[in-house]
Point group: C2
Chain length 699, copies 2
């Protein structure tokens, strides 16, 4: 039986579960008129931003689409490519949009629930995260299924091997659309959220001396909008793309490995099982009142672990059934991905949570001022790359050798690559629930903001704070997970590129030797790209934040009675400035990501592209891990000091910690996570433009 | 005629010129007793540090030497290897030692000359730099010549091809010794100098509010000692190793390219010509009184350009004569290296000098505080990687294709690699004078310190300040140059490693495909190493600085009358603390550099090592460029503000700039430059342990 059918079933189940959970959230009360009013302002700001962003992105998609149509007419690519590209972008955007919608409805309901109990608040925030998680995996799998069945029907006349090759080729373009959209969502949302955050802090906290989330700060609504458009919509689009990318690249590798339609069905069936396991897991997430930080974390983790165990057990039988007992090595590839994801998550927590030594030592370094805080934080991030890379390397080698064990000599290599691809699918199979634990964070963060702005009693704020601070840890864990899977997927995509080139008539064989000068030089360029890209995204935040600083200063100066609470600030102008800043600044880095592989390909040829992809994947992985972990540790070191260590709030140590946190903001929420998408988008663009590069290159 | 004979002649000329110049410096008067006293304290501190460092390093060398002897007995390596290793280390250390000696004699003489005129001070400081430059190239070439002639005599019985193969193999070990010594000198010296600098600033400037170089600051002598042991002795050992490494690796590639003894003689003859050209260049360095910053810079540059033109002209005839007109493409390889070095130097100046937009914009970012200063500075450094990498890539491709043009098909590849190697030699051929313009900086810096501590009239301090601030630019240029040549040399050394493996009986061929999993995973590990290494060196500075902070605070508290100038601080205890801190902290990163290639080799095999070297070279290049340029720009942004911009000294902007500068200190003077050596040492260790790895590896 062809188990591809599991995919649409899983997708529908996920979407139904999201619908039910979402309805449950909507049934809760929003609370007082004041909460409603502010929550409404946040919601309007977020909608306005997304509307504007999608308009800007639409132009980009239109331009690329026209280029793709020309290429399709010229015969370089299949006529399905432009359509697949558009749908990938559409669904990636839709995932982010729905996730953001529910988050902007759940924030007020979480505050209101927090007036009752910690568990009630946790359930609302987590349910909102669950909707997001289920929408991402549900839509991802649904789109893949639809394309699979359409293309299968169109190419019904072809022999199986060719048919599947055509299907997976077209699907890779679908991935390119999703990646492009994800890049805009992550970069644009990341710029918005951090510009608002940095701008609000620099003037509000540092200059005017008013607390965080104070309603007198004109940028406070923009800051809360930012959590939704950056941490929710951006992350949703990002992980939609990771999820879909890992499945597609594995499917593409199945062809070369000679596994045929069975090899294609396995990752899709795995994903479906992951959905069911994630749904089961969500039922185990609940907490008692007065739970400690550790207990709360365990409450969330329990769900993930239960899902992981279910997947580990069921996938054994799945592999046996789909590929047969002779390919049981593939199961160990899945297992190694699953375990690697969990280890990276744990290690990320160790490096960035103030319950452990590294972040505590970072907090110590605030005693000698901001400079040593920065040095220590950067060093922490750099050091933290070692364990994840070793875990990924071990996982790749285990996957490769386990999957290729016993395969006939001529398919050892391709079976091994298939193993690497499926280990990424294994790692991401728990995405439904992992994403739920991650996406609940910004909702809790927003709820905290609402509690502050509406003057809730202290115990409410304490409850939302407990949830929020936990959200920092799950966010860091989620980022480690996103980066790890991105590295695995990108490696699989490099193989997909060489396969694609091999299929092009007259391409000849690529010289893949690392001593081949164009390849080695491509590698040098590839290693540089994440640095250049991060520089652009960091500067973008800086520029956008600058305009917020000016605006907030202007309002403090010109609006009379603002500081005494007699007059209201003009929140909308800040939201608008952030929106415009993000729109303007997100284009240049996106263009680099799309143009670089084509330019490198035209100058250095296909082997230069392979080198570039390897270099960018390796270096991008390190930089993303470093930035996420430095940023996470700075944030938690600041929170640790605010909880009373090293002199507490207002001390010189706290000021130094705030400097660290502010540097860490674009690190962990803009530049770092964007790199994940960069490395995959580079590969996707290379695959789609492979025929063009083969036909027009200098070296 | 065998032009190798030019090498010892050039070496002797360089050393004689150094001797004459050095005597000229020593003849100048040291000035007042007060200057003598403080200069004496600096000299004693520097000597004490180096003595201690060499002792510590001796243990490391003894351990490695014993391992090498065992390996020689086991037949993995030639019996010359342990001896070559020791001499490489010895001469590298000697270069640094002599350079530091003259610098500690020239600082007082520079202040004294500055009481007369700017030109007089420039001449003394530059002469001291010239001694250093000439000693480095002279000793480098001398040692190479001696080894060449000894080995040539020992292997006289072998046919030419085998004889040269044996000679170049043994010489590579010589390079490993030099690299190991350079690593300790750079890392240890870098830790010392920045711990003292950061420690002195954090307590003196920030807490006690006394100016830089104030004699009341107990860490002020340590700070000045640091300039000598880090920026002079460390840099000397570093560039000795770069110089020797580029010549050796090119010579090693000559064998595979089938150029025989002629191919070996070319880089050595080139180096000799570079020495003569550099000496001629030094005579053009002089300045008029009241020279502007730009005129001063041009005074220094003129010497370098004249040398470069001489080399560009003479090497054309040299290549024609040595290799014959059919290999004239090799000349263009040399030329491309020479030009690339100059472009990278220029671009580095553009990114880091406050005469241009990037650093001015960085200074603007201080208006919104330390956090935006850090973000902008990091973004500047990241962005600044793009141009150097494109220049290096272009230079490699030009060298490769120019040198291999017209070669028979079976030697195209090896001729191309030889071209890459010789382009590094071309880049470094002006080292004699480039190093002179670079090494003069710390002398001027020290002179400024002496002027402050001995209370010289303001015009003296102005003159030394003019020289010092220029030194920042030449130091940044020198670093760009060091990194560029390191990247080229490291690429050539990767080829030397594969050649070495190919020579081992029973090694088989290495699978060099980038899709070969052990190679690709080696690449991931390689990309990680510069991050891990930098994290260690940055933390080392932090820890050592912490102890200085405590000690300075203690002295301020316990020594009565210190702040009023009635009592003297205990300078020696700070020097001693820095020394001990540097000794303790320099070992772990050095061990990583030596152990990593062996460990990777044993687990992933020779192809894993190739991947690791490629990854480390690519990523190390970016990280080194980024750190050097961020650090340089922060330093100059601070100086720009101190000169009156953005509120000048004491303003909030200035405080933010000081934070940037303090973060930049370990970036540009410890971690960044150490990476150059790391990437070459990794290759050298791989080459020396090649036979061991081939015989004992898992994958």
């Amino acid at each position: 039986m062809n188990l591809v059918i599991l995919a649409p079933i899983g997708a529908v189940v996920a979407l139904l579960f999201a619908l039910i959970t979402g309805k449950g959230v909507m049934k809760k009360s929003e609370g007082s008129e004041k909460i409603k009013k502010i929550a409404g302002a946040i919601r309007r700001g977020a909608n306005a931003y997304l509307k504007r962003q999608y308009k800007g992105v639409a132009i980009f998609f239109a331009v690329v689409c026209v280029i793709l149509i020309f290429m399709a007419v010229a015969g370089f690519i299949s006529p399905f490519v432009p359509v697949a590209f558009l749908t990938g972008g559409f669904f990636s955007g839709l995932s982010g949009f729905i996730g953001m919608k529910i988050a902007t409805y759940a924030n007020s309901r979480t505050v209101n629930a927090a007036t009752n109990s910690l568990n009630a608040a946790l359930r609302v925030a987590f349910s909102s995260g669950t909707v997001m998680g289920m929408v991402v995996v549900g839509l991802g799998l649904l789109d893949l299924s639809i394309w699979y069945y359409i293309l299968n029907a169109v190419y019904a006349g072809l022999p199986e091997a060719e048919r599947i090759a055509e299907i997976t080729s077209a699907m890779l373009t679908f991935g390119m659309g999703a990646s492009s959209m994800a890049l805009f969502a992550r970069v644009g949302g990341g710029i918005f959220t951090k510009a608002a955050d940095v701008g609000a802090d620099l003037v509000g906290k540092v200059e005017a001396g008013i607390p965080e989330d104070d309603p007198r700060n004109p940028a406070v609504i923009a800051d809360n909008v930012g959590d939704n458009v950056g941490d929710v919509a951006g992350m949703g689009a990002d992980l939609y793309e990771s999820y879909v990318g890992s499945i597609i690249s594995t499917a593409a590798l199945a062809v070369a490995a000679g596994l045929g339609v069975q090899g294609v069905s396995l990752p899709m069936a795995m994903a479906a099982i992951g959905i069911i396991a994630s749904i089961i897991g969500t039922f185990f997430v609940r907490s008692k009142e007065s739970a400690s930080q550790k207990e709360l974390l365990f409450a969330l983790r329990k769900g993930v672990y239960i899902s992981a165990v279910i997947i580990a057990v069921v996938s054994f039988f799945l592999v046996r059934y789909v590929l047969g007992p002779e390919h049981i090595g593939v199961y160990f590839a899945i297992l190694s991905g699953l375990v690697a994801g969990i280890i990276i998550g744990y290690y990320t927590e160790y490096m960035t949570s103030d319950s452990y030594k590294p972040t505590k030592k970072l907090a110590d370094s605030t005693e000698t001022g901001p400079a040593t805080t920065i040095i220590s934080g950067l060093a922490l991030g750099m050091k933290s790359t070692a364990v994840p890379v070793i875990v990924v390397v071990a996982s790749v080698l285990i996957s490769y050798f386990a999957a290729s064990a016993g395969a006939p000599a001529d398919s050892t290599f391709n079976m091994g690559l298939y193993g690497v691809g499926i280990s990424a699918v294994g790692m991401l199979s728990t995405l439904g629930i992992t994403l739920a634990t991650d996406a609940y964070g910004p909702v809790a963060d927003n709820a905290g903001g609402l509690a502050e702005m509406t003057g809730q009693p202290p115990e409410v704020r304490e409850r939302t704070d407990a949830l929020d601070s936990l959200g920092n840890t799950t966010a860091a864990t989620g980022k480690g997970f996103a980066i790890g899977s991105a590295a695995l997927t990108a490696l699989a995509l490099i193989a997909a590129f060489t396969d694609e080139v091999a299929k092009i008539p007259g391409a000849g064989t690529i010289d893949l030797s690392i001593m081949n000068p164009p390849l080695l030089m491509g590698l040098m360029v590839g290693v540089m790209l994440p640095f250049l890209f991060s520089s652009m995204t960091m500067n973008a935040v800086g520029k956008a934040a600058q305009s917020i600083v000016m605006e907030v200063r202007r309002q403090f100066k010109t609006i009379k009675g603002l500081m005494t609470g007699e007059a209201e600030p003009d929140y909308e102008s800040c939201v608008d400035l952030c929106t415009r800043g993000a729109q303007k600044q997100m284009l240049p880095p996106a263009i680099v990501a799309v143009v670089a592989p084509i330019l490198v390909g035209v100058i250095l040829g296909p082997s230069g592209v392979v080198g570039m992809l390897a270099g960018a994947t390796g270096c991008g992985f390190m930089l993303a891990v470093m930035m996420s972990n430095s940023g996470g540790a700075w944030d938690n070191a600041k929170k640790y000091i605010e909880s009373g260590a090293h002199g507490g709030k207002g001390s010189e140590e706290h000021k130094a910690a705030v400097v660290g946190d502010t540097v860490g903001d674009p690190f962990k929420d803009t530049s770092g996570p964007s790199i994940n998408i960069l490395i995959k988008l580079l590969s996707m663009v290379s695959v789609v433009f492979a025929a063009f590069i083969v036909n027009f290159h200098i070296l």
